[in-house]
């Protein structure tokens, strides 16, 4: 049995949970979903639409705010009672904070950032990027179940989740948590920049790289983004230069995105950028260098000066 640990914050389901569910269904066999928090019944109902054996809900006041200690205690308690072969988390910042701890407590090690799952006889093989995405590794778990795994954002399509004919049963589970043993005291989350943007939720993204040459030229990319109903994003050098705020950075040190459409303008496609966007459904690259690595992941490419091409594209969208 595969257990998917869904992620929610303040009662809102993180979309990456569906991607982990898609991975679990693709692996085959029985799938259960676990959601942990306080007052998360609505999230459980949302998840019960999926074709899964059941949805296990843990509600506890000590889990209202995420803490590594609290969530580790809750999930390890659940794992002592339901015994999956594989536990899948989305590879979010939250899962990175506590999935390795859950694994360590069970004397295992998490296989993190998985992009594909294969079978080799009766062995399950997890594929994950290593060496900054220069290589992929086929990884097999040594030792006893459960195998703890985190799934990279965008590696599996949320839309691919099979829905059930009827809602899956929801099962409440009580866990014992010693509130005094939770050592982290979290303060409320906050946003630093005024117009902080959640690129991971964007359906379309127009992204600029060094090819934009100077800050004033970002306006033409913004016009294209507006015409496409897209969010504006950038590669790291643009944000390091302060031309766009850091929260618009896509890549290994920024956000990992998987929109329906990703338009890369003047982005060469360094691996640090590619790992953040190559899961996008459709990728368009506009670059005057035919050999730029961005064309290796692009579905559509135009080899052209972006200062000619971008206004033309904006005009074509408006006509």
């Amino acid at each position: 049995m595969i257990l998917v640990v869904a992620e929610q914050r303040g009662g809102t389901l993180n979309r990456a949970s569906w991607e982990a569910l898609a991975c679990a269904q693709q692996m085959g066999g029985e799938v259960s979903v676990l959601v942990v928090g306080a007052g998360v019944d609505a999230v459980a109902r949302e998840l019960s639409a999926a074709d899964v054996r059941d949805v296990v809900v843990v509600n506890h006041t000590a889990l209202a705010d995420y803490t590594a200690d609290g969530y580790t205690a809750a999930v390890t308690d659940v794992l002592s009672r339901i015994t999956p072969d594989v536990v899948l988390f989305p590879h979010t910042y939250q899962a990175r904070d506590f999935a390795p701890k859950v694994a360590a407590r069970l004397n295992r090690v998490a296989i993190t950032d998985v992009v594909a799952v294969k079978r080799d006889g009766d062995r399950v093989v997890f594929v994950r990027p290593v060496f900054q995405g220069k290589l992929l590794a086929d990884v097999v778990s040594e030792g006893d179940a459960p195998c703890i795994v985190t799934v990279q954002a965008g590696a599996f399509q949320a839309a691919a989740v099979r829905r059930g004919a009827s809602a899956a049963p929801i099962r409440q589970l009580d866990v014992q948590i010693d509130e005094a043993a939770i050592r982290q005291k979290p303060e409320p989350p906050f946003q630093e920049s005024r117009q902080a943007v959640d690129l991971t939720q964007a359906e379309r993204i127009v992204s600029v790289g060094r090819g934009i040459k100077e800050q004033a030229n970002i306006a033409i990319a913004q016009q294209l983004a507006d015409a496409m109903h897209a969010e504006l994003a950038a590669s790291r050098p643009i944000c390091d230069a302060g031309w766009l705020p850091m929260d618009r950075q896509v890549g290994s040190s920024g956000q990992t995105v998987a929109p329906k459409l990703y338009v890369a303008l003047g982005i060469s496609g360094a691996i640090q950028h590619l790992v953040g966007m190559k899961g996008s459904q459709t990728i368009v690259a506009i670059n005057n260098d035919r050999d730029a690595p961005i064309f290796e992941v692009a579905d559509y490419g135009i080899v052209e000066d972006l200062f000619e091409m971008v206004p033309a594209l904006t005009a074509a969208l408006k006509s």
Partner: protein, 254 residues
């Protein structure tokens, strides 16, 4: 305050991967190595805390003999001493082996704070710091942008996703993983390099067998992406054709 910084030596960023004969690991002898970038930021954070609060910084690494290079570099930048858990098998060991060895090596030392980078540029598991914390039974926080110490309490600014942040407090001793780019790295001065020669690098052998929990069955280059449809013509023609394809073929715009 006594601070430990765990650093890893990884292939340089411009290194072109070559595999060993069995295709299960890289050819170590072809690679050039450097300090894992996020660990360099962790070291810088530790040096700044020392400047603010006093105390000392111990830099720790689990790896083969070659990792003395990054330990020397850390000493030249201002770390006070180094601890090297030496074994050739650490070159390709999983998080379990590395974290266990580091935890065992620092367990009996009176560290108030253990810092490390959020992930390594080689295996990139983003788990070592968390596992060390669990092994040492200390609270932790990951992907941290700012570290404040007030008496026995640690307050850190965690980066959440999508431009969100959160301050989290916890009692010391604790373990924190540091995000890249949170401070301006210092370079070693000539004086620092000279001073480093007199500083101690203590070499220990792993306390226990290096236990693996995962195995790399095969390493390979990712497939060269998908088939790119190149659209030609004048900018106006290409724009029109691209919009048509995005609407009718890919169906990603209205």
């Amino acid at each position: 305050m006594h601070i430990a910084v765990c650093v890893k030596q990884v292939p340089t960023r411009d290194w072109q991967p070559r595999l060993n004969d069995s295709g299960t690991w890289i050819r170590d002898e072809d690679a050039s190595f450097e300090m894992n970038e996020p660990d360099a930021y962790a070291l810088e954070a530790a040096l700044r805390l020392k400047e603010q609060h006093g105390g000392d910084v111990t830099v720790c690494s689990a790896g083969p003999a070659r990792v003395t290079q990054v330990l020397r570099e850390a000493l030249a930048r201002g770390a006070d001493r180094a601890l090297h858990v030496q074994d050739d098998r650490f070159a390709s060991a999983d998080v379990y082996g590395i974290a266990d060895a580091l935890a065992a090596a620092i367990r009996d030392e009176p560290f108030d704070l253990v810092l490390t980078g959020l992930q390594s540029d080689d295996l990139g598991a983003a788990a070592t710091g968390v596992v060390i914390a669990e092994r040492l039974n200390r609270p932790h926080a990951t992907i941290v942008m700012d570290v404040q110490v007030d008496g026995g309490t640690l307050r850190v600014k965690r980066e959440l996703e999508s431009g969100w942040f959160q301050w989290v407090s916890m009692p010391l001793p604790a373990v924190v993983t540091i995000q890249s780019g949170i401070n301006q790295l210092r370079y070693a001065t000539l004086k620092g390099i000279m001073a480093a020669k007199k500083k101690e690098i203590r070499t220990v052998t792993p306390a226990a067998a290096i236990d693996a929990r995962q195995q790399i069955a095969r390493l390979y280059a990712p497939e060269k992406g998908k088939k790119t449809h190149l659209i030609s013509g004048s900018p106006a023609e290409a724009a029109k054709e691209l919009v048509r394809r995005l609407r009718e073929e890919a169906r990603v715009i209205a």
